[in-house]
Each structure stands twice: as C-alpha cells, then as structure tokens.
Amino acid sequence: MVAEPAQDQSVQELEDKQEWWWVAEKKRSKRLDYLRKSVWKKGALGGNYAPGIKLDLECATLFTDMWKFWKYDPIMMRRAKAIAHVLDNKTIFITDHSQLVGYFGSLPNTIMWRVDGASMVNEEAYNEPGIMPEPENESLQKVAELNDYWAGQTAVDKVARILDPEDAVKFLSGAIGWGAPSSAYGYSGKDYEYLFAGRRGFEDIIEEINAAVENAEDKTVGVPGPEILDIYDRLQNWDAMILVLEAGIRHARRYARLARTMAENMETDEKRREELLKIAETCERVPARAPRNLQESLQYDHFIQIFARTEAHEGAWPARPDYYHGPYYDKDVNVDKTLTKEEALDLVGEFMIRAYEVGGFAPRWAREGLQGITGTWVWTLGGVNKDGSDACNDLTVAFLQAARLVRVSNPTFGFRWHPKVKDEVLRECFECIRHGLGYPSMRNDPLLIQNAMHWHGHPLEEARTWVHQACMSPCPTTKHGVQPMRMASATANCAKMVEYALHNGYDHVVGMQMGPETGDAAKFHDFEELFQAWVKQMEWLTSLLVRTVNLGRYKDPEFFGRPFLSGMSERSVESGLDVVSPVGDRGNCWVTAFTWVENIDSLAAVKKLVFDDKKYTMEQLLSALKANWDGYEEMRLDFVNNAPKWGNDDDYVDDIMLRCLRETARHSRVMKCPSGNSWPILPENVSGNIHYASIVGALPNGRRCGDALYDGGISPGPGLDKKGPSAVLKSCGKIDHVSDGRAFLLNQRLSPTQLAGEKGYQLWKAYIRTWADLGLDHVQFNMVSDETLRAAQKDPEKYSEVIVRVAGYSAHFVDISRKTQDNIIQRTVQGI
C-alpha cells in the first residue's frame, strides 16, 4: 500500500523537502490518483511477485484448447485461430474512472503466461510459490496438464533440438549470456509509419491484404512454374493475418458493448455515463478504422500493444508516442478545443498507467535481471522529423508532465536530444530528472542517426524515425527498418572474456571448459599475449551467442509464427511472409554487452602491476584470483587503488577501452545477421550486474566472486571515478559513439541539493552541452540523495514511491533487492 502524505503539508513544503512522490499525489487529478493507486504492480520485488498477483490460467487454457483443436493447420493459421479464440472469449474489464481500456490478461491482477514459449519457463510457473489462483490445487492441476501438453513442443524446445549440442550446453550453463532464441520472448518493433503516419485502421489493412490475395490467387491458376510455389504458403499467412485483425476488431467491440451496458444499466453518475459512452464510441472506431482524436489514437496504440502481447511475450515496448499522437493532441487541444490541457493530461497519464499495468510471467533469471519491472519499456520522445526539423510538440511536454504526476517506473522515456530542442522542453526533461524519476535518459540524436546509418545502412529519412528498440538501441519504425524480433539471447556476459583469457578458457565457477584454450596465462610474457587471448575469447563468446540467435530468427516462422505482428506490418501485408522472416528486413541487430568495463579495468591492472611495474607475477595473480582474493587483501587493494581505472581521463586505461571496442567492432562486421547485416555491441547492464555477481569469478580489477559488477555499459566502477564528472565525460568521449558500437550506457548520480532551483537547471544544461560536444550518445541520471535512499532502506513503507534509475530502466527503490539498492547508493554522487 502507498502511505499517505502528511495532509497538513502544502505542495510548497513538500517540494522544499524534495518529497516529489507526495507532491505528485497532491497535484494529480482524482482520476489519476485512483488509477495510479489501484493498478496492480506486476514487476517482481527483488525476484518475487507481489502478494495477490496470479498466473493467468484463463488465457493459457483458451489458447491451448483452440491450438489442440486445429492441429492440422499450418503454424500461422493455427496460432491465429488460437489467438482469436482468446480475444473472443477471455474475461475483459473496465476499471472505475478509466477512459482507456485493454489488458492482455483476464483480470487486473493476473500475469499473462506464454504457455507455448518454453517448457523450462512453464516448469518455473508450476513451481513459483504464491501465484496460483484459488483454489490452488485445481490451478496446479491445470498448470500440470498444460505443461504436459506443451512439453517438447514449445518454440524454444524446437530451437533447442537443432542447436549445435556444444553451443546449447554452453548457452544453457547460464554463464555467458541469457535469453531465449525465439520471438516468443522477443523485442518486437511496430511499423508505426504504416499504421499511424499512414492513417490505417485494421479494415484498411484487410482491404490491402484482400487485394494482395486476389493478385496472388490469379497466379496460382496461371502458368505453372517454380515462382508460384511459395504463393500457397503466403495465401495461408494472409488468411491468418485477416483472421486476427478481425478478431482484434471484435475484441475492441466487446469493450464498446461493456461500456454501453455499464452506461445504460449501471452507472448513475451523469459525467461517468458520458465517459463510458465515449469509451464505447472509441472502441467501435478503433482499431477498425484510423483514429480521429487523441483518445482514439492512444486507444488504438494500446490495442496494438495488447494484441501483439497476446501473441508473444514481448520484453520491450518500442514507441514514440509524442510523434505519432502529437497531431491529435494539437487538433483536440489547440485547434478544435474539444479537450482542455488538464483533460489531455489525464488521458496521457492513464496511457502510461495502462502500460505499467501490463506484465507477463517471467522466469527467475529475467526477474532478477530486471528487478522491479516487467520489461524494458523505454518510450522515445523528442528527436527530429524526417526532414531534420525539431519534432518536439505540445504532447512531448504533456508526456513529461504526466510522468511526474503518475510516477510509474515502466514505461520510462528516452529523450532524443538535438541542438534545436527548445528550452521549455529541455526544462521539462530536467524537471523529471530533478523529481528523481531517473528518466528521461538523454540520447544524442544527430549522433545516433549517424550510427544507425553507419551500422545498418538505414537511409537518413528512415534513421530519423528511430525509437528505442529496448533500453538503448535505436531502430527505425519503417517498412524495411522496423525490427520484428530482437532476442535477448544475444546478451553477452562480457566479464567472462577476460576471465577466460586468464584461465585458458576454463570456467571455474561452472566448472567446465567454455571458451577456446588460449594458453596458460601464467606463461604469458607480455600484455600483448594476454590481449590476444582476450580477443579470441571475445570472438568466441559473441559468435556463439549470435549463431544461436540467427538460427532462432531464421526458424521462427516455422517454430512460432506472428500473425498479428505480420498483419500490422507493411512488409508482411505486401509479401504474405511472416514478419519475422528476414526477407526484406534490413537488419538492426546488436549484441548487448553486459559487464563490459570489468574487462578494461582488469586488463589495465594486469598491464600496469604485472607487466609494466613487475610488482607481481602472473602466477601470483592467478593464485589470488583462484582464492577469490581470500588472504590477498593487501594485493587486492593494490589492484583496485594503484592501477588506472576507466573514467578518470587517463589514457593508459582509456586506450585499452578503445582497443577492446575496436577489436570487437571489427568482429561485429565479420558476424552477420540473417539479413546479411552487422552485429555491433551495445554495452549496458539492466540489472545483470547483480544477476551475474555470483557467476563471474574474481578478476584483476579487485572484485571477488559475489560482488556486484559495475552498473553501466561504460560507467566507471562505483566509487572509482575519482576525478569528477568532467573526467568521466572525457573518458567516455574518447569512444567513437558512431563506429565503436551501437550505443553506450552511462549512469551518473547528481546531487539534488546542488541542482535545486534555476541555478541547478543552468548547471545541468551546461553539463548536457558538454556531454553533446564530447560526442556521447547516452547519459542518465539518478538524482535522489543518499539520505533519502538510506531512509527508504530503513522505512520502505514510507518511501514506497521513490524511483531510481537502475540501468536502462527505472524501478521503485523498494522493489529491488538489497544488493541492487546498495549498488546504487555506492555510485559516486557527482558535483557538476
């Protein structure tokens, strides 16, 4: 429960005390207050679901029933029929005071279960305590029945059977990466250009599909030849797309009918009755036809997200709401004046809450890696139009204002900064950061547009449409640029690169030979030998993960199938291919590089203390590492304090960072995705730095097995950035943020006291200018004091609404594990 603010305190008093969560409660409308407090939080606390959260058995059962029934259909059609059955029959609900509707589970407290995704996950669902709906025994029996049916025939089971056995064992060891190589658990981009810029509703798309079908059918009764053979499959796919699009329209009309029933039979309040009729009108309009106003536009977008998530467990939420809904805001608020700014703010705030509500069952490793949230839902704001002009609009501001009122930890925002952003918009970004939300993260738009063109050859106009595909990676929202499936399984636990280079490819934590044998490090004569061993381990590790993902991507249309996502994507509507098929997709892949900076600090420490200063031998170092530094404390502190550390503008170590990045960038071009494009790396961590704490062994940077790893993609180690924020920026600025990788995550903690008032804003603005001048692509801030965070540790009830930036996402501080909390407190608070 949310503790109540002291009623007798004024907004001003609460603002002075920087208790922003109480300020929000006092400032927001009654409606937003109700909706915010009534929403069921689906993010796990530490790694556990909150009391009252239940597994959604209704949808899983409906899906499986129909899947079984249509067993002779091809996979797209079979899935389409199963999804349609779910949408037609599951329980739907409308929460009091809400104006937007749609949830992918059947009740507000349920978490969706992707029953056809992975048997391993299904087994975890069975064993997860506390999430079975009452009566528990009946539910457990139902889950067991479903698990029996799906065992061996989920999407991931099918991929696992054809993986190289050695690759599979190493991947499944959990030591080198995570994720599932299937779009059942992917990050799926939406073709917003087709849907929103193209002003299409589902009926328009169905018409286009029908035209394509007619054309194709003409060919199947024409001259025989090889070129008509795959048309038969495409015809089935098109039928499947139509089937789900129609089901989507019917599903929305169920909400329309419910809202009308409520208005006509139950509701006594005249104003609410009008709202319900408006919901009915909205759901009769969208998704069938293109939206006409803000409410319809937001509702359409939300339906699209819900439908896609009914089809797959999407772990991200690529979106650019200010850009695509902005014209409707302008029309309603500024031109037609059918909405006041306050009314629009209510809609925008609720739009965020509706997304916050969404959550599916995730395995424990994912819950630990993404503590407090259900996926990395980073919505993109700001940026430029296709012609390069400033794209910020009044809705950009409304989203930033609404965020401070509803204070959800998911979705968060990434703001596309560029030199033409107006001061009033930048101020709104700063206010969100000052209010301790940890978002928006700041993204360097001109640089990232260039980066998208450099790595994947996206044309300028398309690159300018980019959204955050997950936490960080930019991806266009266009026909050939949109990425239908990015799987988290190309997520590398990079600290293993240096660990394996030091141990001849052997992993002492999991106890098996993992990487190639690159030589006994005790016999290395110089740093170069160690570095070359590192290069080989890096090549091996990234290649293994990429092979797995490429295979999963290539086989996905056969093993899983995405009729809904296909039906909402221009490429598939035109071609009749599953949108996950790489055909016609330009490719936008990246390897998420977790625990990256440990490589740099470790290599630098060995170079300095072993090879340059000759203070220790490699043998001594290896003995200390094997002992997890136990009994070597003085030596360990030497490796921490007397070897150069990344983030202090010291070329000795910064040059090693550049060498590592450039070797990896070279290899990124050797590895190809199924579309033939490159695989750049993207250093960041979500909360993988905690997840991997007990999986990465002792390292020469001074960490022991068990210690949290560094928190950011290129953030210095907590407490090791001793030379202040400019030195951090200068070190990070030595990286070429276009050609050295896809993006680079930098966490910074700033002092809320220093950044109070107008002076604080000006200081921050100057900092951002320097950040941009030095050519960094990303920075995000925590601006909550140590005092507040410590108080929250002692009295979590009272501080339940304090939000912090963990890594590529934000979370409520009390929802993350003690170890993660401590890791955040330990970060250096920079005076700027």
Binding site: K37, S38, V39, W40, G52, D88, N89, K90, T91, I92, F93, I94, T95, D96, L107, P108, N109, R254, R257, L258, T261, M262, N265, M266
Partner: protein
C-alpha cells in the same frame, strides 16, 4: 433448471441470437471494475454462485 438468460448479470447481444455477456461488478483488494465474459442465454446457471434472478 435456471439459465443465464434469467440472471441479472446477463445482457443479450443484439446482433448475435442466443449469445450474451455476463457483466458483473468486482471489487478486488486494489480496484473496482466491471468485468464481462461471453455466455449463452441457455447456459445452465444452477452451478453459478453469482446467479441473481432478474
């Protein structure tokens, strides 16, 4: 045997003969809402704890 058609929560769909929605108010520990689930009018209501005669 009582059927859903006789229940206060049953609302017949205009365009689908025999088919209706069971619409009920629910108050859970966090929020209040109306829920809807498809039911047929001739559905056996004898086992339904929420049945309320019209």
């Amino acid at each position: 045997m009582s059927t859903c058609a006789e229940c206060r929560s049953f609302f017949l769909r205009e365009d689908e003969p025999g088919q209706g929605d069971c619409v009920r108010r629910v108050v859970d520990p966090r929020q209040a809402f109306y829920q809807s689930k498809p039911v047929r009018e001739d559905n056996d209501a004898s086992g339904c704890e929420s049945f309320q005669k019209k």
